[in-house]
Symmetry: C2
Subunit: 570 residues, 2 copies
């Protein structure tokens, strides 16, 4: 008698047609997929009260060809002029380009595209060949008051690249995507803004082949979006890499840059230390395309020494113990780990389920006091000099033990590292069946981490049938971040949107920052005035006014700079 | 037969009268003195072609009572109002206060005061009791367009506190000089701007006594001016401490602040990591009193673990070897030393002479290839966790050896540490006999350090009878600083001034920044436009315009913001 095979949804492995909606909103490589495991599928059905029947039919896959909602509104004379400035082949006005380069990776954006109803698209996409082109385009758009949006790689999850007012989307990745030089003495790389993470990292790893240098280097910046985000975007949106505790955030690894603004081109000073007034470089960190277009970056780079990397993993008896250990570690002055992640109890248990933990191991953990619903997983790596990574990992081991943890060896960390960039691929599978997975994240000081964690979870878990997984993954002596991952099956989009708003409210009301490393974009803009206060917003608006007096750079709410007061969230 | 005792000048050990000019311009504690050694005295005579007779009579000691050059120009109604706002005892209009709180420690300023001809003094000094007072005073001065200068502790060496346009000098050190709280979880201290280094450090070292905390802390910031500079000044002028390689510069150890500007009061966000647009905190780092008055700072603090400190010293065969070692060290990713100083050949030889090196040791060094005129001294310490300092010092030892150095043990570093804050005291002794000692310093990337060092020395040494000692003492993976100490016996003040200008010219022309950690003030302002370029200066001016539309905050050239174009230096 043959055993009946358990039902599993038909998770897509089809490459979306290259002209389709799906090809725009799908995360990552067209042929890249990552599906929920059988365990997760079972868990989702249970959590959301679903049956196999709910997974029998995909909804709104978006396989149809993209159609723009309207013809370009930009006058032909402008298009002709742009072609004259940047070359005829650099200006695209086809529907597909206009939609593609107007959309990021915000969940709401994916839903819009699945519904085949994009709200706003650029009139034209311009692919500048070099920084001279950018200068000409910015000057022209400024003179003609044409809205100009900067598109690095489109990985924004908060409407950061949304072409709210139409106009031009400037696609920097098409041509401006190279490392121009590596300076071995200064340990810097001069890089163009549209270069994606893997190409940048590969070039640095292999620097002796491409440049007259002796050593291999690493960029040190590995955000979740690494494969599909650009160096310029890292800096413009204040990203953090997964190894930021060691290498620093994007704001720390930028040395200087060149920016083209409507008020002119600025190349900032390139000194590691200087006392010549407030640093102009800093003012473009997090400027999110609202001040100008970054055309060149001088990035700090680091020795590439993967042979020295050490992996570790621990199970803590509680979130409190994991947090205490993390704080003691980052304040311990013995050096810092590269990757360090602590998952709260819900993320830990669901993670174990997702990846499958052998039941004998689980039983052992439980015997050691690591109880489901309480225990918290920690993964990490150390990088740097060989003796340094030995010291730091030994110190962490000691601190973990002191805080009641059990070592899991480096197995889980190695496994995590191999698949660390693939998580976002699961979104499409879930969306195909009406489920939503989304993330919100926040910066926090140590003295507020528990209030914030509990305050946000309280709001989230008040909604029935809602998963909420949280981790902290970027550590500083003064605090960390909290990264919330939600899964729901909303009644409808409005209910989902309302839920999202209430979570951001809860973050702000519980003292978190409205973003730790996703940036603000147009989605989080409504909270900016309350969060920063009008006095600080006025400073940003003063800079905006200086660089871009006619508000042509990323207009329509970016960072709350030109948000109508009525849209502010208290 | 008694041996005739060698002549030594009568270096002053007299405490200057408390109302005297000298009490204003003298560095440090009234009863603090440090005199040139007999070796140095001999060396100076030889270098400058002088005899004992030239040291027989002190010139312009400034022991007479201070007399202000004019009566206060500020109307009585303003003075009455300020007394009403900040309390009657908080407003001083006596000559001594007006001069004292209008002067910093610039060499030129000392000469002015010795000549008893102060060029500009404040009309009144106000000593705010708290930040509410500051708010009221700033608002009043803004409304009445009264120039307002912020005086932290007056250690500026570039006319940073100079009351160029008269008006009010705001003395923050009188009352606003306390640690308000220590947050043990976040490792932060909330401190008022006018607190001096030693009181701040002592409070943190002894934190368990003053606050409900368990651990002892250190501020991590020990500039040469430590004893007579203020926490607010460190941030406002972008200072660097002697242990900055480990702890970071002032800009790195500030978490957030409160500033009172004519446009209103701003309290910046206090997250260690956040992605909510360009950080307003950054815009006040280095603002030098031109945007507003810093009224509170939240500083990062560090564990105080002096028991783990390790001391080292090396002699390198050459400047090139010392620089190579420093670069390899700071790029080596094994951790960082706290103090690290490398002296060029001239500083090394003169330093050995100043402090006296036993001839047997000297002979030994020479035998090992450390030749006078080439050899370079390195001093340093490691701080942090016990095993970390062991690792870092062992790694440095290995690198030093690789670069041809000979270990000198920790003796010289310990000796240096004991007297490290007393060097500036020597200035008065020299000035008393018409000699000038002054410093200029610059930030530099590794690939330009030799060109800059040689370029500046070429200009300096072209002047006959001129000493020039150089060291690097703040290290980053991307570069370091160069600190030039000059000694001359100028023909007259004009000749000295011209010499100083030519050195700054040489710094700029050879690619150094115009200041690494002294700030800009009004003295280096003429180079700002060339150095930063007009596009960057326009950004600073836009912020200035926003915070201080009527230019009442530190007007008269500070940072070159309102410098007449004719005074710019190409």
């Amino acid at each position: 008698m043959s055993k009946r095979k358990a039902f599993l949804p038909d998770w897509t492995e089809k490459i979306a047609p290259p002209d389709s909606w799906r090809s725009v909103f799908k995360w990552g490589a067209p042929d890249g997929f990552k599906h929920p495991s059988a365990h997760w599928y079972a868990m989702m059905k249970e959590e959301f009260g679903l049956s196999d029947a709910d997974f029998s039919r995909k909804i709104r896959e978006g396989l149809e060809p993209v159609v723009a909602p309207s013809k370009p509104a930009l006058a032909k004379k402008h298009l002709d002029k742009l072609k004259e400035l940047a070359g005829p082949e650099s200006v695209s006005t086809d529907d597909y380009s206009r939609v593609k380069f107007s959309y990021g990776m915000t969940v709401d954006e994916a839903l819009e595209l699945r519904a085949q109803s994009p709200k706003t698209v650029a009139d034209a996409v311009v692919h500048p060949r070099n920084k001279d082109d950018v200068q000409k385009i910015v000057a022209y758009c400024a003179a003609e008051k044409i809205p100009l949006y900067t598109y690095g790689a489109g990985s924004s999850v908060n409407y950061g690249v949304r072409t709210e007012k139409g106009g031009i989307s400037l696609a920097l990745g098409t041509h401006m995507n190279k490392v121009l030089s590596v300076n071995e003495q200064n340990q810097t790389a001069q890089v163009q803004p549209g270069m994606l993470g893997p190409a940048y990292e590969a070039t640095l790893n292999d620097a002796p082949r491409f440049f007259s240098v002796k050593k291999r280097y690493t960029c040190g910046h590995f955000p979740q979006s690494f494969e599909f985000s650009s160096v310029g975007g890292w800096v413009a949106a204040l990203g953090s890499g997964q190894a930021s505790t060691y290498y620093g955030d994007a704001c720390d690894i930028l040395l200087s840059l060149e920016v083209v603004t409507p008020a002119g081109t600025i190349r900032t000073l390139s000194y590691p230390g200087t006392a010549t007034g407030p640093k102009i470089t800093d003012m473009f960190k997090g400027s999110e395309g609202a001040f100008g277009v970054i055309t060149e970056l001088t990035m700090k780079i680091f020795r590439y020494m993967p042979e020295n990397r050490r992996y570790f993993g621990y199970m803590f008896p509680s979130w409190g113990a994991a947090v205490d250990c993390a704080r003691e570690m980052v304040q311990g002055e013995f050096g810092l780990p590269a990757v360090f992640r602590i998952s709260d109890a819900e993320e830990t248990d669901r993670g174990l389920k997702l990846y499958g933990i052998p039941s004998v191991v689980d039983a052992g953990l439980i015997r050691m006091g690591h109880i489901p619903g309480k225990r918290c997983l920690c993964l990490g790596t150390c990088e740097g000099d060989e003796d340094y990574t030995a010291l730091v990992s030994a110190k962490i081991k000691k601190l973990a033990k002191k805080n009641g943890a059990t070592s899991l060896s480096g197995y889980a960390s190695r496994k995590w590292e191999k698949t660390r960039f693939t998580e976002p691929y699961m979104r499409e599978d879930l969306n195909d069946y009406g489920l939503i997975i989304d993330t919100l994240e926040t910066g926090v000081t140590w003295d507020n981490i528990h209030r914030l964690h509990q305050g946000v979870r309280k709001v989230v878990k008040a909604r029935p049938r809602t998963m909420c997984m949280t981790h902290a993954s970027h550590f500083y002596p003064q605090g960390t971040n909290l990264y919330f991952i939600f899964m729901i099956r909303p009644e409808n989009e409005a209910e989902y949107k309302d839920f999202q708003l209430r979570i951001v409210d809860a973050i702000v009301q519980n003292g978190g920052s409205i973003s730790h490393h996703h940036g603000v974009g147009k989605m989080l803009a409504p909270w900016m005035e309350t969060h920063l206060g009008t006095a600080q917003m006025d400073v940003l608006r003063a800079l905006k006014k200086h660089f871009d007096p006619d508000n042509i750079m990323n207009p329509g709410g970016q960072m709350g700079l030109d948000l109508e007061p009525g849209r502010r969230r208290k």
